[in-house]
């Protein structure tokens, strides 16, 4: 059934045609034109690869500010220390939970909003403006805004719930591990959704209406049209959006820093916050660098695994 569905044909006439038409242009970049890559290679090396290498180097040093005898080569000692630290394991679990939940929620909500926007229903332009506005808010401002919303004594969420008689008293949303983690995920997802919306909306607008009409003539209902027409077209964009969301969520920091500082207990301490605290609050730079390297490796492994799990080009 699925092999007979539009994707193969669509790809042949649509997406693949685009890819095929680009290949000759790529080929023309051979030779001296490849020098055009030099500025970006230099920038990436200077601002991404070199700092990563430097952090990897720091992770092999004994750098504990104020500690006697600090400053020498430590080999794998920092890695042994952090891997045996229960707090790192807890932070790793929190990071995974936070990432899975926020990416799933952002993807689902983003897809829903994008489909709504694509339906050209009344008020969608306003919705689009709202989505872009939310996307434009700096992360630290977003975090501060949610800090006010969740405030246990004058927060607007409490005010709203009480005024609607959905709650009888003001609650401290960030005071229990479960509610704190989910409140943080919600606030972070709110900021992540617009990105997914923009990416998917652009992909949705590229789906030719002819295919929907053909599918409708063949008797396909809304779900079948979504599954066999829409999804194949937006799948590459969706994959990219999810990939970005994974990477960003793995290193989410501002929202945790402002809302919970990793608490209550260690309930919302994720690896990025743990690294920050270790380095800049407690002065254990070597151990912090080791955690940062581990976080980089985990992020790379997750994204690589995700990428490998995606269907390859040409696979039906």
């Amino acid at each position: 059934m699925r092999s007979q569905a539009p994707p193969a044909g669509l790809n042949a006439s649509g997406a693949r045609a685009v890819v095929a038409s680009r290949r000759p242009r790529r080929a023309r970049l051979d030779g001296p034109l490849r020098l055009l890559n030099v500025p970006s290679v230099v920038l990436i090396t200077a601002f991404t690869l070199a700092p990563i290498a430097y952090v990897a180097y720091l992770s092999t040093l004994d750098l504990r500010i104020g500690a006697p005898g600090s400053g020498g080569f430590a080999g794998w000692a920092n890695y042994r220390f952090v891997l045996s630290d229960g707090a790192v394991a807890a932070a790793f679990r929190n990071t995974l939970y936070f990432t899975v939940l926020s990416v799933a929620a952002a993807t689902a909500a983003g897809l829903g909003v994008a489909l709504l926007l694509d339906s050209d229903a009344p008020g969608t332009s306003l919705l689009m403006a709202g989505a872009v506005l939310a996307w434009g808010i700096p992360e630290i401002v977003n975090a501060s805004m949610w800090q006010w919303i969740y405030n246990p004594t004058f927060g607007s969420l409490n005010g709203l719930l009480v005024s609607l008689h959905l709650a009888d008293r003001y609650r401290a949303w960030l005071s229990t591990p479960a509610s704190a983690m989910h409140a943080v995920v919600f606030a972070y997802t709110w900021k992540l959704v617009p990105f997914v919306v923009v990416i998917l909306y652009a992909a949705l607008r590229s789906v030719p209406l002819d295919y929907y009409e053909s599918a409708a003539l063949d008797g396909a209902g809304p779900w079948a049209r979504f599954r066999y027409v829409t999804m194949p077209f937006i799948a590459p964009a969706l994959a990219v959006a999810v990939l970005f969301c994974i990477v960003w969520s793995m290193r989410a920091f501002d929202i945790i820093y402002v809302l919970t500082s990793g608490g209550p207990g260690q309930a919302t301490t994720v690896l990025s916050y743990f690294t920050f605290a270790k380095a800049f609050q407690f002065g254990d730079l070597g151990a912090a660098a080791a955690v940062a390297c581990l976080l980089t490796l985990v992020t790379l492994a997750l994204t690589f695994g995700y990428w490998r799990a995606l269907p390859q080009e040409g696979a039906s």
Binding site: I65, N151, G262
Partner: protein, 436 residues
């Protein structure tokens, strides 16, 4: 006579210009000799207008020095300074919290040898001197020193039939029960127990001190006195006498919450009862009825200090010392100008003996119901944090943050007290081994 424009003429012109610039440069250099030295002074964001006034006064009395103040939000202060220091960003003078002194001591300038330091040390309160001394060296002069006290809503206590604040922990519980049962407050007790910053653990320190003990013994095990304090504290949460929302409140936000008038008591630093906080007639609903009382049990209290330090890498250490001496000590006439002014403008108490005798200071304290003699006695007898916990261990701040998290779990019943205490002890031993 018209001159011909030739290459030689142009070269002559360039040579003349260079020579003129050189002469001007020399003259300029001679001029810069009279230029004032510029000091970069890093502060956190508490009453920066007051700090600027002090700077203006200092500059007026010392025209050869100019001070540029840079303000960093309080909750970002330590990491930002750490970053600046790692990046070798130049600065001369800064606020230092006593809890971070051990970590920062490698790059702070010891002050013992400076002119007038010995005389100032002799006048310092024990809590201030010990808070600013690390491994026998003085690393700062007091910005302020303070102590933990019972801050209470006298109107609410009287409404429940109590003429005086509690003198024991048991009495404290009884009063809270009565206030709650009379409907005067849903949760009479408020505690600042947010995980970050100084919060819950400092309250634990204050409770241990008030019972005459320490939190950790020499073997880094939790002491029986601390276990007793914790059990009592947890029981107030179980009974619904303590507000669970306090888990989200740091000392500042809990003081703001107290100002709303819904609470009977709060154990926090004394200055939160001052006219800038609970006794602020414009902002506080408990203005005029908020009072200070000693901590219960033995009435011993925990004290601490904040200090002005000098960056050892400063190129202007002599000028920095003059500035620090003015800010954290005396002016040219030997008067404690800023320590006195901080009492009236910020409710921040002093680090030197005798400041309370100043009529302005005494009047300011009395204006919001504080007894100058009692404040002085509390400051004089305050137990330094380093006598209660390993406050000057390099690893203390890391332990404190971890312990704050465990404490939150204990208070709301997620972790039994004994288990939490074991976690504190285990973490302290682990960190002590790492930083041995």
């Amino acid at each position: 006579m018209a001159q011909r424009l030739t290459r030689r003429a142009v070269l002559k012109g360039i040579g003349g210009a260079v020579a003129a610039a050189g002469v001007a440069g020399l003259l300029g250099r001679r001029g810069t000799a009279a230029e004032p030295v510029r000091l970069k002074f890093i502060v956190w964001n508490y009453q920066v207008q007051t700090v600027q006034q002090f700077i203006n006064q200092f500059e007026a009395a010392n025209p050869d020095i100019k001070v540029d103040m840079e303000v960093i939000p309080g909750n970002e202060y330590i990491p930002k300074i750490q970053l600046m220091q790692n990046a070798r960003t130049p600065f001369d003078v800064l606020y230092v919290a006593d809890g971070i002194l051990a970590q920062w001591s490698p790059w702070l300038q010891p002050l013992d040898a400076y002119d007038g330091a010995a005389a100032l040390k002799q006048q310092m309160l024990p809590v201030a001197l010990r808070s600013m001394t690390y491994k026998g060296r003085l690393y700062g002069l007091p910005y302020f020193s303070s102590y933990f006290a019972l801050i209470y809503n006298d109107r609410m206590l009287r409404g429940a039939g109590f003429a005086a604040p509690p003198k024991t922990y048991e009495e404290w519980t009884e009063q809270a029960r009565a206030i709650k049962s009379k409907g005067l407050s849903k949760t009479p007790m408020l505690w600042p127990v947010k995980i970050s910053g100084w919060g819950g653990m400092w309250v634990v320190n204050a409770m241990a001190a008030s019972r005459g003990g320490r939190v950790l013994d020499d073997s880094l095990n939790v002491t029986p006195v601390t276990l007793t304090s914790l059990r009592w504290w947890v029981s107030t949460y179980k009974e619904g006498l303590s507000d669970p929302n306090g888990i989200e409140l740091d000392p500042n936000t809990s003081a703001t919450a107290f100002m709303g008038g819904d609470y009977a008591t709060m154990l926090s630093t004394s200055f939160f009862a001052g006219p800038q906080w609970a006794n602020d007639k414009d902002k506080s609903k408990v203005y005029g009825v908020t009072k200070l009382a000693p901590t219960p049990a033995l009435h011993r209290t925990a004290g601490f200090a904040r200090l002005y330090g000098i960056n050892a890498a400063s190129a202007h250490k002599a000028e920095a010392w003059r500035f620090v001496k003015y800010m954290g000590g005396t002016d040219k006439d030997g008067s404690y100008v800023t320590p006195k002014a901080w009492v009236t403008s910020g409710a921040l108490t002093w680090g030197y003996r005798g400041v309370e005798k100043d009529p302005t200071v005494a009047a300011s304290l009395r204006s919001w119901g504080a007894d100058p003699a009692q404040v002085e006695a509390n400051l004089e007898n305050a137990v330094p944090m380093s006598a209660i916990v390993p406050f000057q261990a390099v690893w203390y701040s890391e332990w404190e943050q971890d312990a704050n998290g465990v404490l939150q779990d204990m208070l709301v019943g997620r972790t039994p007290v004994e288990q939490g205490a074991q976690a504190w002890s285990a973490k302290a031993k682990e960190l002590a081994a790492r930083y041995k």
